[in-house]
Each structure stands twice: as structure tokens, then as C-alpha cells.
Subunit: 110 residues, 4 copies
């Protein structure tokens, strides 16, 4: 892409990775596992995380200065999602991806 | 929908109306008018406004408590978009729709 | 919006209504009901229906002639979603909204 | 992600790359260049391409068999976008990314 700062490019990658892992895990692993994995609070958090990651990447690509606010919110939801996935267990890929995305978003929100 | 509070339902409607008007106006009126209407700062603001409205509606529909934060950000971007459309002129539908959406989002963000 | 044909405007409304009902019902009614309502095939169909409705509205708003293809696909998924919701029962709002959207999309796909 | 076939994983990557390049290029390069780059037909095609790529990736991640239809449509729009970007010139990254995405989507649509 045209002249994009490296940390911005990195953040887009992290957001789209986290979007993929959260959405993909919710719609396959969680639906198949059932039980605690489809409890409303957990499942909604995963879907909210996927959506804010998608939106944050979109804002960064649009080139709007408002990306700071979506990145800040993205970091908060990713942290919460990582903690909830860790609590449930057997979701380490999701925990790790959310944490990396949160870190990258905090840089862009600063 | 199932047992949704009236102000939440109203906010979803306002967000989806504002999404429609901002995206539809940018991709028809602004592209056809050209000139100031496709200046990067204005055009990006309209696209950012369309996207945050879509996301705020999505968060309200998912039923996540994080809708407060997306609604707060939505209100800010809508206010900014309304002011910029008023400055350009000949975009009164966009001005009015953004203001109604901002008002509704502020209620949900409180 | 600027000079949009009435049947196009109507189709956008139906798509966004169906998006709202499918996403809102899946994330509240289905998650709370559990059991058959969160079986992967049913739940994925509802989420796919919400997403294609959102995309079809987006294509109509963008003003691209490719809306014919997204509307044709939207009609097919809506029909399938209506049938599956009818099979499960207790989802009449979803059945009716999907059928109205499918009808409207078939007009735009012709 | 959990047990996803390699060609599906590859297609998600190509779709999200093409989404990034088309959206990012339209909202920076095209808006800054102006002239032919913001002519309605070209600009709408780029935005439609970005959106169908985003949707196709979403369908693949949801795990719905309807991904075949969104991938087929995605391949068509990517081919058209590649040809239009080639015609304008100075958009080789977009041309190449659209062609790779089209090829990958055709595999998933078969």
C-alpha cells in the first residue's frame, strides 16, 4: 500500500488476524463444543471482538484520524476476550492472538 | 425482535439510516459532484461515519455491553460529519440524519 | 437519497430489516434457547443470512451493477433460512422477514 | 484455526489481502490522484471489490457451504477490477492482488 507507516501496517495485520481467529473459532470450535462455549456472555464477546477488529482495520485503511478511538476500544475488547478465553481453557490460539492485537492497537491509539 | 428496549431499537434504526445516507450520498452525489466533494478529508469522514454507524448497529444487535463505547464514538463522528456536510452545502439530508443519529447514540452511550 | 428507484430503495430496507432480525434473533433468542437453536448448521445459516443481507444493501448503496448477483444470492440464502426457521418453530418473525427480503431481492436480481 | 483445509485458509488470506489493497488504494491513492481515479464507475468497482472480498472471507470463516457462491462472485469482480486498474495504469499492486484473489476464489467456487 502507498506509503503507510510500518506500525500502522502491522496493526492492520493484527486486527485482521484477530478477526479471523475470533470469528472462525466461535463459528466452528465454540458451536461444536457447545456448553460453556455457547453461553451468551462468552459467545457475544467473541463476536464483538471479531467485529471491532474488522472495524479497526477498516478505519486504518480508510485513513481517518478516528482510528485512534476504534483502536483504543479494540484493545479493551481484545483484552477482555483474551481473559475470557483463558478462563474457559482450550482456546490458546485465541488468547494469544487477542493479546498481540491489543498490544498493537494500544500503540496506534496513543 | 425479542424484548428489546425502545430506545435501543430506535438507536439501531438511526444508525442504519445514517449508514445508508452517508454511504449512498458519498458513492453517488459526492462522486458525481466531484471537486470539494471528493477531497480526501471530507470523503474519508463520510465513509468513516457510514462504517461506525454500521458497527454501532451491529454491537446493539449482538447484545454486547460494549455498545456504549461504539455509540459514544458514533455520536462524535456523526457530529463531525454533520458539521462538514453543512460547511460544503447541498447536503442537508446528510446533516439532518447525522444529527439525529448522534442524539440517539448519546442516549445509548450514557 | 438522490434519485434512487423505488424498488431499489425498498430492497435496501428489506435487506437491512432481515439483517437486523437474523443477527438479533441469533444472538439473543437462539443463544438463550440453546439446544437445536445453536446447532452449527442452523446457527451458521442465520449468520450467513445476516451477512449477505448486509452486503446486498451495501452493493445497492454503492451503486454497482454487481448488486444483481449479491441480490440473487441473498434471495437464495433468505429462502433457505426461512425454511430452516420454520422447521425449528417459534421463529415466525424471522421466517416472515426472510421471505419478504427474498421476494424483494428477486426483483432486483432480474 | 481448527482443522481448516489448506486451500480454504489460502483463500481467506487472499480475500483479506485484496480487501486491504482495494480499500486502502481507493481511499488514499485514488482520492489523492483525483481525475480518472475518482470517476464513479472506477471508484465504485474498487469499493465493490473490497466489500465482496471482505464478505467472501467472512463466509469462509463462518463455515457455511454458501461460500461457493460468494467466492464465485468475488472472482468475477476481482477480474473486472484488475482489468480496470490495468487500464488506468499506475496501479500494479491492485492488479496483481486482484488476480491472485480471483484465482484462489475460483478454486473454492468449483
Amino acid at each position: 500500500m502507498h506509503h503507510m507507516p510500518e506500525n500502522m501496517r502491522e496493526c492492520i495485520e493484527q486486527c485482521l488476524s484477530c478477526y479471523q481467529v475470533c470469528l472462525g473459532t466461535a463459528m466452528t470450535h465454540c458451536l461444536h463444543a457447545g456448553g460453556r462455549h455457547v453461553e451468551p456472555a462468552h459467545f457475544r464477546l467473541m463476536m464483538a471482538c471479531a467485529e471491532i477488529c474488522r472495524t479497526s482495520a477498516h478505519f486504518l485503511l480508510i485513513g481517518t484520524p478516528h482510528h485512534r478511538h476504534t483502536c483504543r476500544e479494540c484493545a479493551e475488547i481484545c483484552d477482555e476476550c483474551a481473559a475470557d478465553c483463558e478462563r474457559l481453557g482450550d482456546m490458546q490460539e485465541c488468547v494469544d492472538t487477542c493479546r498481540r492485537c491489543a498490544e498493537s492497537c494500544r500503540v496506534m491509539a496513543a
